[in-house]
Amino acid sequence: MKEIVIISGKGGTGKTSITASFAMLAGAEAVVADCDVDAADMHLLMQPNSVKEESFYSGQLAVIDQDKCIQCGQCAQVCRFDAISVHDDCHVVNPVSCDGCGYCPRVCPADAIKMEERKAGSWYISETKANNRMVHAALDIGAENSGKLVAKVKNEAKALAKQQNVRYILVDGSPGIGCPVQSSLSGANFVVLVTESTLSGLHDLQRVYALVKKFRIKAGCIINKADLNEMVHEQILSFLAMENIHHIADIPFDRTFTDALVAGKTVVELESSLVAQQVKRAWEIIKDLNQSV
């Protein structure tokens, strides 16, 4: 079983469209994990029918019992997150700022503060139109994207993959380089970096690859919008060569991605398009590379 994670650093490079295409091509050989839980989009292309749904709890929230509170203000004094303020002569917790550290109940002389479990979102197992299973999640608005929900999605996908004895786990990773991406990467066998021929694309690729290196995972790269700028394209190629990252494919700047998206399809379903051919070839190369990982 190979765990293949698709990440991009920069948003909007086509990561989700490409992951969904691989999920279509892999079919029953794969379990899919949408780890981009903050604004998850893959379900829009995979038409999932959910067979299981569960709430996800993560972190805590301080709650002040006004009947017990003596308004001494010690809680606000120790809070490093400026989450406790006075409204109408009462100390109240701002749930957006509260980090759930649990310091305030420990200093409250009136025992008026309780820590409550906090719902962070929901996660699902679904059947998709690609004849495979997908684990996905929706983070509640403003919830902490701590990477714990990402880890949950991945672990559920792993358990499913084991149980169904499939060859691949395809993980749509999160953008950026912070906690959720690090959760997406942990335990992966291979990373597909999706970038674009823009200076921002190159810059974000370099930063996210510095992170991948810390995890010591083998990587390949797909350059989307490859023909937007020849000079930047060359710079990306020399970065890939220098870092020994396999150059998997170039995909031209093209409206096919948008056309497919609008039709609710993955690009590989628009079979006659050039982009579909290139994405198919990319998937074959990734499969080959993973035999030797």
């Binding site: 650093g9 920069k10 948003g11 909007g12 490079t13 989700t16 903050d38 604004a39 989009d41 829009l44 805590q60 120790v78 490093r80 997150f81 957006v96 980090d99 759930g100 550290c101 649990g102 310091y103 420990r106 820590m115 983070l139 608005i141 403003g142 919830a143 902490e144 994207n145 990477g147 953008p175 950026g176 380089i177 912070g178 906690c179 690090q182 674009e196 021929s197 823009t198 200076l199 921002s200 810059h203 974000d204 930063r207 996210v208 510095a210 992170l211 810390k214 919008k225 937007l228 700028n229 000079m231 930047v232 700047f253 409206r255 948008t258 998206l261 609008v262 609710g264």
Partner: protein
Amino acid sequence: MKIAIASGKGGTGKTLLATNLASYWSERQSVVLTDIDVEEPNDALFLQLPKIAQEERFKFIPSWDSTRCTLCGQCQEVCNYHAIIQLGTEIMVFDELCHSCYACSELCPAKALPMVPHKIGELTHYHHANLSFVESRLEIGEEQAVPLIAQTHRYVDDHFSKDHVQLFDCPPGTSCPVIEATKHADFVILITEPTPFGEHDVKLAMQTMHQMNKPFGLVINRADVGNSDLLAYCKANTIPVLATIPFDRHIAEAYAQGLLVYEQVPAVKPALDQIIDFLQAFAINQK
């Protein structure tokens, strides 16, 4: 006035809008742009301004003083982040898990966990003519963007008056970094594209802004691609659409090279004018 530029979905044009709006607006009045997309800050690629200051940024984490420690175990019990554990006669601190709440340090009866600085990133301040630019950049391997975003807001408050036009290029998504980035804003611009992904994510971002009670409006980028009826949706829900930017390969090409788009594709200027007019009217109304 503080104006945050956010998006929900990544890659919809936050950086494009932030850099072009800041530069164009600064032709008329003083503007400070702050890049608080600290995980992947890109604005500096488009604004080649002279650097005037650079400083390291830190969070504070406990450091174990074995000579004072009595191994009472209270620190690991109070830590809600499992960032500190006792292994036999050793106390271990996991820097990246620590949220700097100070509970373990201040509640330690032996005062054996003094807080020490731990580098989380770097802040750089640039300035030329009417345009100031502040960028914060998270260290690779650091997990939490929020403390750096909070510190960057404080830096901007210390260095610029409220009368300044303050633009903030925010992280994507709808979770804690975005909340931290937008919570001080007077107005939030959400930039999106009219595709199913763009529409889905901007609706989440709009819900977030509703929950935070933030006034917001939309800028629709690549307005002529896709199928979405975002314009109709905005009209029905009385959400202002500040401007639309067309899909144009020339824009993408200029952006790819790190150029300011309005200097290359003049058709972008009317969109920027509309946004500035809207925000100036908004500011007057607020007063």
